[in-house]
Amino acid sequence: MSEQTGYTVASDTEIAIGIDIGTFQCRLAVWNGSQVELIRNTRNQKLMKSYVTFSDESPSPVGGVSNQLSHEYEMLSGATIFNMKRLIGRLDTDPIVSKASKTLPFLIQTLGIGVRPFIAALVNNIWRSTTPEEVLAIYLLELKALAEARLKRPVRDVVLTVPAAFSRFQLVRIARSCAMAGLHVLRLMPEPAAVALLYAQQQMPKNMGDSGSEKIGLIFNMGAGYCDVAVIATAGGVSQMKGLAGSSIGGEDLLQNTMHWLVPEMDSLFSSHGLEEIKSMGILRVATQDAIHQLSSQASVQIDIDLGNGTRICRVIDVEEFEEINKDVFEKCVSLITQCLRDSKVVKAEYIDDVILVGGCSSIPKIRQIVTGICKRSETEIYSGINPMEAAVRGAALEGALASGVNDPLGNLDLLTIQVNAHSIGVRANRNTFVPIIDRNTTLPARREMVFTTAHENQTEALIVVYEEVDDANQLLLGYFKVVGIPAARSGVPEISVCMDIDASNMLRVMAGVIMPGSGPRKPVVPLMEVRMPTADGGHGLCADALNKILGSNLDLVCPHGKLNT
């Protein structure tokens, strides 16, 4: 395997490794000088479960990279933290967190006030606190050690894939975990962007110089925690993203919904997290998981389990029922795809050349039906050139090689994905209204500017409150700063210019300045402000409330035209 091929190309430049850290499973890959190769663990597995177990016996917690579970229940004893990717960077007001707190065997306490949830693992009958970032860092350290053992060199540079739905807070947290693990992140790339890169490589014309005709691809990626959709236009090794959409739905939701269907009183049953309850919850989770897997290949499954507390569950679930229980999830998939197609201005499904279906949920019949149905083709016409479980990590490894400046004489690395941003970013203006400045699906790098003005007479300060719109009508506060020293003037006279810049590495900066109209040389009245976002940390919901309460509308901005989105 890897030993024969060798990694001599890395002698002077370190080639960054690609990591696809999934909610459920994780993979590692690297460019080996001529192609992408997946890195296997000591048990020769390419897929490693994403979890970390805390215990008193071993000096440090062990994760799914090096550990071998004797049985799946071991993962569900309360001592093991998993689903880090779903929990990272979220507040306790997030419905994902509160749902998780009722269905996961370890402890997630939510106060529902907009702060970070309290997370703990059960070690020797003690709940020991930890954080998703810490757990992820421990896991990444294991991955790093594995890669170093396999590649026989130090590993520092990495390219990580992330869901399109990730907010900038989640990106910051992931980057922090990597830093804690001693990894240097060259890129956090949306999973569909990685898939697009791999697709671009596969669609490369065989003879050089020929740019080939453009192909439109639809990428649907659904794993345990997240779902992404992208439309790409690929020619000559370059994939231009036309549209990108994502949501926090995935196999975990299917699992939770099905568990609730089996045990409707589950939330109250397991609320105290006692030892017996954790055990029952584990039994229920494993049985439900197995049943869902079987429903991918058979019409119905019998579930017969003893939860141990006198509750015995014996039920048959068929595919129709499963689809009915999870109607909301599947409907969300449909709306994501239609929204992405609309944003990409792909007016007819017939214009799509290839339908690329990847991720752990891509084998679920209903998912296949939805995607092929919207794209108007049969299941046999799904693009078959990509392994659904390895697509993202292979793309990440390609990006790792590109970002490390590797040249391939055969032109296999003559690739590029031109990305778009997944969420609109804007400011609060016109009395608590979100005014987008950079719309979603804007090609990166991007810079946009908008001019605002004061809301009040003689207003000398203005507050720039920056939001990211992660879902329709759900805006997260990224940060805020004041522009001061505005000369006293009638409301509507000073020009407050707000400029937003996202560079190719997806870093967001917000600039603001004040200009007074009038004669003479025009220059800003006060030095410009430049602020890297996000500046607000966890608890941004609280911040927004506090800002409103303390400052009211005194420092408001308004759009000069007095109207929005005409």
Partner: protein, 272 residues
Amino acid sequence: MLKTVLRTPLSTLIRKTLAQSISIQLLEENVTQLQNQPHFYTVYRFNSNERTRVFRNPQIHFIRNSELLGNSSGFCSSGSIDETSCCWNCKAQSPFLICESCGSVQPVDHSVDYFRIFGLERKFDIEDGSLEGMYKNWQKKLHPDLVHTKSKEEREYAAEQSARVIDAYTTLRKPLSRAIYLMRLEGIEVDEEQTVSEPELLGEIMEIREAVEEAADSQALNKIQSQMEEKLKHWSNFFANAFGRKFFDEALKSIQRMTYYHRVNEEIVKKL
């Protein structure tokens, strides 16, 4: 009223680097330097692509104008834009975005208009698909993702050039923004917020709006949409003709109509 009061630009020059050594420079008739940095400044122009909303910002027009009038050398106190006649790296003659002989990315030269980037004549009609290929070729040479290993300065050039090619592509790709850009190249500003004075057009707009609001199903909407497409086509032909003959008043008139039909289309898409 506000509109005219605010028709003034604030334009910033911000280096593409991280926060530690940010230098900001104002780009204006009189260049004001807020912070002294020994080397090069990149010029940023606010882009006007995609959404009409962006056009609404009056400052864009100013920047565009000065750019087009060839004032670019004035923007950069210490920039190397004046030296575009030869490559900054190997001194080869007349590099264009990148140097043919050494492959180095060149600083942005704002006297090069969007049409030239794509090797096109300054006219309205462009062949379908003539942009896409060239756009991707440029990105392969310029995109910041592909120049990680080059010097910091060159990476900055690449970021600016790449962003400009994106702007050029998005501007030229759509007939309406292409038409507005062409007019701007002729020194004529198009005010998209301008109110309609022709009673005939007003009446038509009202009628279409009503039809859209009352449309019962997607079929009805689709029908209106195809009507709008027809009209858009008609008026872009009209524009091409008028612009070709330098009848700019006529050209402006067709842009105004295209803007309205385009908005109707956007509304329909929202409703569909």
